[in-house]
């Protein structure tokens, strides 16, 4: 069961971003989200390195090498954008000004603990970046991840086995198989076509509940 592609996961997330939201894009999957925002909605994307109002990737040859996002990729600024120093930019996260950080995740627990900065030793020094700052403060934190590891082991667990980024922060999980709300446990709101609830449970390391209104997971037409 592979379910959605990476593009399909980010398309699905983009459909849920409300008009006018301030959204931080973590590195990895989240940076793929912006092109999929439905037309007519205005979303202000923040990049932790001091950019608010990040626009699409620049045309080849038109890059400003000093205008990059958190993933160090060249970006543009929209009309209405603003630049902040790092200390001013990071006011926006723990201070709760960002409506929704979109974060990649290695693991999420049934109570919303997030692990997204450190796996078991690859021998290299660990890096945390802005992960911990982004995970605190916002009322909603959406985690984007593959439902299982490449070996098929669950990433959604009763307790994270990797080091935590922050406890009890994730409010919603988008995977290649399902959209799950973290609300007194794990509530399945959508499942990809062709997968049933029992099969999803076997791929999940914590008890899940089926929402009464659970729907097939939407994908781009």
């Amino acid at each position: 069961m592979t379910g959605l592609s990476r593009e399909q996961i980010t398309w699905r997330v983009a459909q849920d971003l409300p008009d006018g939201a301030y959204v931080n894009l973590g590195i990895g999957l989240p940076t793929l989200v912006p092109p999929f925002v439905p037309s007519g909605r205005e979303i202000v994307f923040q990049s932790e390195n001091g950019l608010l109002g990040v626009g699409p990737a620049p045309a080849p040859g038109a890059e400003d090498p000093q205008l990059i996002n958190a993933g160090k990729q060249p970006v543009t600024l929209l009309p209405g954008a603003s630049i902040s120093s790092h200390s001013d930019s990071f006011l926006m996260m723990p201070g709760g000004h960002i409506d929704i950080p979109l974060l990649g995740a290695y693991q999420v627990s049934e109570r919303g603990d997030l692990a997204n900065w450190m796996t078991e030793g690859d021998g290299k020094p660990p890096g945390v970046g802005g992960a911990m700052d982004l995970a605190v403060g916002a009322k909603q934190v959406w985690a984007l991840m593959e439902h299982t590891t490449r070996k098929g082991e669950p990433r959604i667990l009763e307790r994270c086995t990797y080091e935590l980024t922050a406890p009890r922060c994730v409010t919603r999980i988008y995977t290649n198989l399902a959209m799950i709300e973290v609300r007194d446990g794990l509530l399945v709101r959508e499942i990809v076509e062709g997968l049933d609830f029992a099969a999803l449970q076997t791929l999940t390391g914590a008890a899940i509940r089926l929402a009464p209104d659970c729907r097939p997971m939407r994908t781009a037409a």
Binding site: G20, L52, G53, S82, I83, L91, M92, H97
Partner: protein, 222 residues
Amino acid sequence: MIDKRVADIEAAISGIADGSTVLISGFGDVGTPFELLGALLEQGARELEIVLNNAGGGDDAIVKLLAAGRIRKVVCSFPRSSLGNPVFDRLYAEGKLELELVPQGTLAERIRAGSAGIAGFYTPTSAGTRLAEGKEQREFDGRLHVLERPIVGDVALVKALKADRWGNLVYHRAARNFGPVMAACGRLTIVQVKEIVELGALDPEQVVTPGIFVDRVVELGL
């Protein structure tokens, strides 16, 4: 679409609840949103806690709010005015007005902490003085510091020079003062500006208050 512009000052000030903590920008008269304060007087919210550097003087809108009995508590650094403020002085002397006196830099920093999700900070300012009484004091590197707690505003009333429809702000000269730090701290931030400009007219490098902190802007031409 994001459009924080509101049609008039009544719409700008609407919805402020009784008992709100209201941050008010300005240093003396400069940068003080007197028109929003006038509208607040009309709007009617009571039992307000106001946070500002000075506390009005002469017959300005802050004095009028005090005189109308709408203010329960003032958090400020300097509640004295060269124009005099006999209303404040009388209410204070009669015990009808609570005053929390805060050193000016500590006031700015407590508001910044509120905007940044910082639960407290240790500053040397006021350590060993009467204003530190009742607060935790602690030595770091051989020097006494005071634990100061954040201030969070239910509402921030701010005056700026220009805004766009996203709420980005620039200020004029010394009228910047508490504007940026208070704008970032209000759960509801309401800004009066001289002029609203087209989105994109403000250089991203020169925006002082990013629009993320702002909820409503009203153009007053002054």
